[in-house]
Amino acid sequence: MKYRIIIVILVCILLSAFHMATEQLFVAPENWPETTYDFSKNPLTLQKVELGRKLFYDPILSKNNSISCASCHSQYSAFTHVDHDLSHGIEDRIGTRNSPTLMNLAWHKSFMWDGAINHLDVQALGPISHPDEMGEKIENVVLKLQQSKKYPALFYKAFKDSLITGEHLLKSISQFMLTLVCSNTKYDSVMRKQTQFTTQERNGYMLFQKNCGSCHTEPLFTNLEFENNGLAVDPTLNDSGRMKVTGNKKDSLKFKVPTLRNIEFSYPYMHDGRFKRLSDVLKHYTSSVLQSPTLSAHLQTPVVLSSNEKVDLTAFLLTLSDKSFLFNPKYSFSK
């Protein structure tokens, strides 16, 4: 009888240990929508996530071994690049768009400002091959990794195969990116009824729901769609956005709606990084939205905010910061 109890306890401990091990890699917060990423085709394991993390921080992915993913996606800014309006790459070349933040990617159905990438697994191919970013060929990355000292062993650990393939390389980078879940903001705590907004924040939240929430939909703070938010075209870039991908005039000047999570730390804002401060963004929505045939349906009536309301709205936006994400040691450079 005693033995039976011990066995039952041991089994329980073992099961909960397994449960914890799998749970820690990816946790979908309660009451969030279904994830888009099909985890059954690329089940997360600790070895694969760790391999992906190593690759994310390794400049070996670029042509001259100088630029890593983290060069334009640094953790302390929610995995974007705060010093530059446009992303920059090898040999100080400058790209044409602001590097996006990387958070909650398991819920996204397309990637890049124009949605040109259709799946998280193949997302890394974009920056790896772009001449103004990493300027490298995926075939050559695989070759360099295969010839390196550490990677064949790490791929063997992760995939039980030391022969490195493009598929395994990309899937491991996906695994790391999938673990980047941001769900511990003050806003989230309020929704979980663990804390309360201040009066100012609550007022800001109401203004947000009225004026911003239809595109920056909770809880991801993006509807994952493409919208024209009335920005004037920058004549040095002439970026038509989504239309480049679909070839459809109706998509002219539409860009993917970015999340507002960690907005405090992910400046500059917009696809071309034209606004440095949140106040510039609010000023745009209240006074400089340009009418055009593709302007978002949600911006047809002008947004009106008093200066006090702008302060309240900003106070709410600051509740979307997640320090536990920005400083999570699991996401940082691994030695």
Binding site: D38, K41, N42, A116, I117, N118, H119, L120, D121, V122, L125, G126, I128, S129, H130, I138, E139, V142, T165, G166, E167, H168, L170, K171, S174, V245, T246, G247
Partner: protein, 228 residues
């Protein structure tokens, strides 16, 4: 005694396999330029003045099915093949068909279907390292032909046609139906026909989905024929 029985066994197997059709079912691609077999880095005459050479010719064959009296009787599992004109072994696609299966037609696609195109990183012939995946705008290149010709007023007289697209209205997957013999189907791809129809003097690069890629793919299809 044991040795003899083994010997008889082996001979028996040999006879058994000989008794079957001499060639097991397969699709065999034969890229040619007019009457000559297509070879890498070889100049072919288009006319008395102009010539062309090919540096790459690759395409995907997928979704292979056998048909008997208008009904599909066999579908190849995991049916994705990268055919490279300059890799001899890739030109022949053996079909692992059950013996005694009757069929009279074959269906296959040139290119990769839209579902596979949106399903993330794949391995084998679909691995993005095969040079047949677009990095900056997701999707497979269904058909790739690259080369040089004095007709191209470009850098190094180069031309590059990367034909793909999985999204409406530029879905560039092409289904081909052909009569299928019991053994091997020899499909000829005549580049001379393609080159003569190609706008080499005006259009030297197609690198994204769209009308031009669709038109060019139609030309590719017109260059396919069954070797009699």
């Amino acid at each position: 005694m044991k040795f003899f029985s083994l010997l008889f066994f082996i001979i028996g197997i040999q006879f058994a396999s000989m008794a079957q059709t001499p060639e097991s079912p397969a699709i065999v691609f034969g890229p040619v330029f007019g009457d000559s077999k297509l070879q890498e880095l070889t100049y072919y005459k288009i006319n008395d003045i102009d010539s062309v050479q090919f540096t790459a010719l690759k395409f995907y064959i997928s979704g292979v099915e056998l048909i008997h009296q208008y009904k599909t009787v066999w579908k190849e599992a995991n049916s994705y093949h990268l055919v490279d004109a300059f890799q001899e072994q890739s030109l022949s696609l053996p079909l692992n068909v059950p013996t005694k299966l009757k069929y009279d037609r074959i269906k296959f696609n040139i290119g990769i279907d839209s579902t596979t195109s949106v399903s993330g990183a794949m391995g084998g012939d679909l691995d993005p390292t095969k040079g047949m995946y677009w990095a900056w705008q997701s999707g497979y290149i269904n058909f790739k032909v690259e080369g040089k010709s004095n007709l191209c007023k470009t850098r190094n007289t180069e031309f590059q046609y990367h034909l793909g697209g999985y999204r409406f209205p530029y879905n560039n997957l092409q289904s081909i139906f052909m009569d299928m013999p019991a053994s091997q189907l020899h499909v000829v791809l005549d580049l001379k026909k393609l080159i003569t129809e190609m706008p080499l003097t005006q259009k030297h690069h197609i690198m994204s989905p769209g009308n031009e890629a669709m038109l060019m793919m139609e030309r590719v299809i017109n260059c396919l024929s069954i070797k009699k």
